[in-house]
């Protein structure tokens, strides 16, 4: 038994559980639970009304069913929508007051929160189940007028900004999961970069699911005011459990004139075991709007975890000359499934988008790229370049590329390239003959395959992501 556990923890080193006393909302999805969440977060009435509006709408919506990976029906009444460590109920004022158990948890995850050991040059917001437990470097950022705090705090302290932008990119009526999130979201990060400010450090949020039978409904909102710049990174992990857990996040980005937002994700939720038991359902809505002219939004994602990943980080290119980018690595091994890609909606003139997607499939996994490029009639001289590469390992996995192109403007320039390749015996033999074992060889080849995307990550995380890419595919060659 012990040996087995050891083996298991080798597969997924973040699979531990923190034993901590929780405050939970009563099980189930209803108005009382929503009121409970709003109340415990000390939200103003407008916020509660907003949630209830979403909930009303939800009752008329059906779960989408067009995606490739199917999953057993989720019983939404059998979930907890709020779970937080008791010690974090009133969010501690300073880091010294954070529960040592939580500090320890993040330390194990490689995210030191203590003042003296903070990651240099990276401000971290740590979200544990339904609450943010700590945010580092807050004062330093405040000096520049930057707001970086849990969204529940922003709702209380910066209502004018939240009211203006929350739901402005992903309306509460958007689709089932986005609407569900709008009704029951608990925590996530809020970022506001004032006009002309270049954020001096990476901002990052680390999401941790700990409690069982609990859904995590993250909500993140990032606003880059005119001429500002911010680079933001999120990471995530969860314990190993036999049950499937739902993570349904909404992330909204707003870039005003000449502003730039770089958003990177390293997603390492528990992928389930070798036989496909357990793992996170990662059903996420991420959307950014390049509202102002010359603005830019760049999504980079490294998706290695989750039983099912289902997300399309998108850009609405409204401002003239705005730029949208999507760089993605999706790795599926064993029985993991992914249906991911992007939407580039060109509305403004001279808008440009670039999509680089790298899908890697091993074991019995199934990996789909699905992407939409839409050029509206007013988007004169819009340009898109799309490149989708798939890499297969073994002969029991699948890779699919489903591009949708809708063009209503004859001055548009759209390019699409796609390749599918397989790691050949010959390549492995060559690497072996130079002293590398199978796993090292695979890691080298796969990292080479993903290089264009890995290069987009902030330096500090690129190395980590590179390792993760190798680890995710361990045992995939026999």
């Amino acid at each position: 038994m012990k040996q087995q556990e050891l083996e298991k923890s080798k597969e997924y080193k973040y699979g531990f559980t923190t034993d901590i006393e929780n405050i939970k909302a009563p099980k189930g999805l209803n108005e009382d639970v929503i009121k409970f969440i709003s109340n415990i977060k000390k939200e103003p009435k407008w916020m509660l009304d907003w949630r209830l509006k979403a909930f009303k709408r939800l009752k008329n919506l059906k779960e989408p069913n067009w995606q490739k990976p199917k999953y057993p029906k989720i019983d939404y009444q059998d979930l907890y929508y709020y779970s937080a460590p008791k010690s974090a109920a009133d969010k501690p004022k300073s880091l010294d007051e954070v529960d040592p158990k939580l500090i320890e948890t993040y330390k194990k995850l490689g995210i030191p929160l203590q003042e003296q050991k903070k990651l240099s040059g990276i401000a971290v917001d740590a979200v544990f189940d339904s609450v943010s437990v700590a945010t580092t470097f807050k004062e330093e950022l405040t000096k520049k007028g930057i707001i970086f705090c849990p969204i529940s705090e922003a709702i209380r302290n910066h209502p004018e900004l939240v009211k203006k932008y929350l739901g402005s990119v992903i309306p509460i009526t958007d689709h089932y999961f986005a609407t569900l999130n709008s009704a029951v979201f608990t925590d996530g990060s809020f970022v506001y970069i004032p006009e002309g400010v270049r954020c001096p450090m990476e901002l990052s949020t680390y999401f941790r699911i700990n409690a069982s039978e609990t859904g995590q409904f993250e909500r993140t909102l990032i606003i880059a005011d005119k001429g500002s710049y911010v680079s933001y990174l999120e990471g995530c992990s969860a314990p190993m459990r036999d049950e499937n857990q739902l993570h349904a996040a909404n992330v909204e980005l707003v870039a005003l004139d000449d502003a730039e937002i770089k958003y990177s994700t390293v997603q390492n939720w528990y992928p389930g075991d070798k036989d496909g038991k357990g793992g996170i359902y990662n059903f996420v809505t991420k959307r950014g709007i390049c509202k102002g002219k010359n603005s830019k939004i760049s999504w980079t994602q490294v998706e290695t975890g989750s039983a099912i990943t289902w997300k399309y980080p998108s850009c609405i290119l409204q401002g003239d000359n705005s730029v949208g980018e999507f760089y993605s690595i999706a790795i599926t091994n064993n029985h993991q499934k992914a249906d991911t890609g992007t939407k580039m909606i060109h509305l403004g003139k001279n808008t440009k988008s670039k999509i680089i997607s790298k899908g890697i499939s091993a074991g019995f996994a199934d990996n789909t790229y699905r992407g939409l490029v839409r050029i509206s009639s007013k988007a004169n001289k819009a340009r898109n370049y799309t490149q989708c590469d798939s890499l297969l390992m073994g002969n029991k996995c699948g890779a699919h590329t489903i591009p949708y192109i809708e063009n209503k403007n004859s001055t548009a320039n759209i390019e699409h390239e796609a390749t599918t390749s397989k790691i050949s015996e010959e390549q492995l033999f060559y690497c072996n003959q130079r002293g590398l074992n199978q796993e090292e060889a695979v890691s080298l080849i796969v990292n080479g395959f993903c290089k264009e995307v890995l290069q987009q990550l902030p330096m500090e995380f690129a190395v980590e992501a590179q390792k993760l890419v190798g680890i995710s595919l361990e045992g995939s060659v026999g």
Binding site: S421, S424, E425, E426, Q427, F429, Y430, C431, N432, Q433, R434, G435, L436, N437, E440, L444, I445, N447, G448, F449, C450, K451
Partner: protein, 246 residues
């Protein structure tokens, strides 16, 4: 160093090597010549560990049963194969590949791993000797390399990894005279009392530059004749026909 006795190998029930015998002592240079399909490349494949063959007989390398050692360990223990057709690996930077390989092997030998600066210095020096343009080393491994560049890259890897037993599988084929001379110089500069070479070739011309201690003629999976380097000249003149009838 290497002791092959009664080695037979077949693939899909087709016999390629039949009771092949060969002994290589440290410092020796052996050449294997022979007509197409005589089993030369099969020998290289089996020594380096390529899968897919049915193998009988014994191969001892430094006193150990080589056939039981995994491919990468053979490489770590000093067996190097210069490929006849070096494989293209898209996305993988040539320098990075070589550095990873070198450090894996150094680690195995109990040596300190080289950092990027030390490595680049080493590569610069070695590639200059082989007249390899540095810029090809920042390209993807073997992708878009000319035939000559691929072969030179193999020789570069050999000089950097400093193996104990080098197997050159038709490294000379497809090389022009200048490249052939440079590659040969690379090989000659590595000759030493404790490093052995097994050179597989079709043509005598390589032996104008590299003087082997022994020349073996492989016919139908067997050594049909062994001699000194003058044997190669005879073969060039008379062809393999005369040896075949033995």
């Amino acid at each position: 160093m290497l002791n092959i006795s009664n080695l037979s190998a077949s693939i899909d029930d087709k016999n390629i090597l039949r009771n092949f015998n060969l002994k290589i002592k440290p410092g020796e240079v052996h050449t294997i010549m022979g007509p197409n399909g005589s089993g030369k490349s099969t020998l290289a494949n089996i020594l380096s560990g390529r899968k897919g063959y049915k193998v009988e007989g014994q191969v001892f390398y430094e006193g150990k049963n080589l056939l039981e050692i995994p491919i990468e360990e053979r490489a770590q223990k000093g067996i190097f194969l210069a490929f006849q057709y070096p494989t293209e690996i898209p996305g993988v930077n040539t320098n990075n590949f070589l550095k990873t390989s070198l450090n894996t092997i150094r680690k195995f030998r109990g040596l300190k791993e080289l950092d990027s600066l030390e490595f680049l210095k080493l590569v610069k020096e070695k590639s200059k000797n082989l007249k390899i343009e540095e810029k090809i080393l920042s390209r993807q491994l073997n992708v878009g390399f000319s035939g000559g560049e691929k072969k030179k890259n193999e020789i570069l890897q050999m000089t950097i990894l400093e193996p104990k037993l080098v197997i050159l599988d038709e490294t000379d084929s497809g090389l022009d005279i200048d490249a052939l001379r440079i590659v040969s110089e690379g090989v000659n500069s590595l000759r030493s009392a404790n490093r052995s070479f097994l050179i597989i070739t079709h043509y005598q011309r390589l032996l104008d530059y590299i003087k082997p201690d022994f020349v073996h003629v492989l016919v139908n999976g067997k050594v049909a004749k062994t001699g000194s380097s003058s044997l190669a000249q005879e073969l060039e003149k008379d062809g393999y026909e005369n040896v075949t009838t033995e």
